[in-house]
């Protein structure tokens, strides 16, 4: 049986990466909660995770010519960043709702820790298999 350490961690490694990106986006929203004309942004976790995991969705563009420019980074590119639909935009054009962003940030942190504990479980399984206990 061939063993691949890259695949041993499953989707959790990618999930952790995308969760960290999302944490950064939500922190940016919170930081700009008083900036005029700032639009709150977020990502669609499901599609970004799918893209990051290597499964291309129908909406993603492919380079068919050597001169095509591929947007940088391997996930959470500019195209993946969506705008949040505001419930009550401020008069200065700001669409950040601090309550929503705080909730999403806490939720994202929770899910990050969930992915971490899944990863810890995987590592524990591997070490016990290696030690043969």
């Amino acid at each position: 049986m061939r063993f691949n350490l890259d695949k041993a961690m499953g989707i959790y490694e990618t999930a952790l990466y995308v969760r960290a990106k999302r944490g950064s986006i939500l922190a940016s929203n919170l930081a700009n909660s008083d900036t005029p004309n700032f639009k709150a942004r977020d990502i669609d976790f499901k599609s970004v995770l799918r893209n990051a995991a290597g499964v291309s969705s129908s909406s993603s563009m492919t380079a068919t010519n050597a001169k095509h420019i591929i947007p940088g980074g391997n996930s959470a590119q500019t195209a993946d960043l969506l705008y949040r639909h505001p419930h009550q935009p401020a008069i200065d054009g700001n669409t950040v709702d601090a309550q929503i962003e705080k909730t999403k940030f806490a939720e994202n942190a929770m899910q990050y820790q969930t992915s971490l504990s899944f990863l810890t479980g995987k590592i524990k399984n591997l070490t016990s298999a290696i030690k043969g206990e």
Partner: protein
């Protein structure tokens, strides 16, 4: 590590909010500063925030805040007829700043709330990073 960039982003917000608090306290401190002409009278100041855009760099997801500048309020100055005041002009008027104390207090509360939840975001990210460092132990 994109969680590291949370420190840059939230840190810039902390700095911006503390500048805002500082300006609010200057306004409140000078709310009763008297002068004898329009030009020398203190005017309420307000910071202008703008997003530190990095849209075309490698990190489009982290957008910090920067204070673009500080503008003076264009509201009318308060004039008071007080001929016995040592700083009154020929017509007996003194000029008082256009600081609106209620507006400044509201601004202060808003700034301190924003400061608080940015600190919270930094704390959460710190805990997550530490948990990641302990991964597999």
């Amino acid at each position: 590590m994109s969680l590291m960039s949370v420190f840059d982003v939230s840190g810039s917000a902390l700095s911006a909010q503390s500048i805002r608090l500082n300006i609010t306290s200057s306004n409140l401190a000078n709310a009763e500063t008297v002068s004898s002409n329009r030009e020398q009278t203190y005017r309420a100041r307000h910071p202008v925030f703008s997003a530190a855009m990095q849209a075309f760099t490698d990190k489009p997801e982290s957008v910090g805040v920067k204070v673009k500048g500080v503008v003076e309020s264009k509201a009318e100055l308060r004039m008071r007829y007080q001929p016995e005041h040592p700083l009154s002009n020929e017509e007996g008027y003194i000029f008082l700043p256009n600081v609106n104390a209620i507006e400044e207090m509201a601004n202060m509360i808003s700034a301190s709330r924003s400061y608080e939840y940015n600190v919270e975001a930094m704390n959460t990210s710190k805990q997550l990073l530490l948990a990641t460092l302990r991964l597999g132990q």
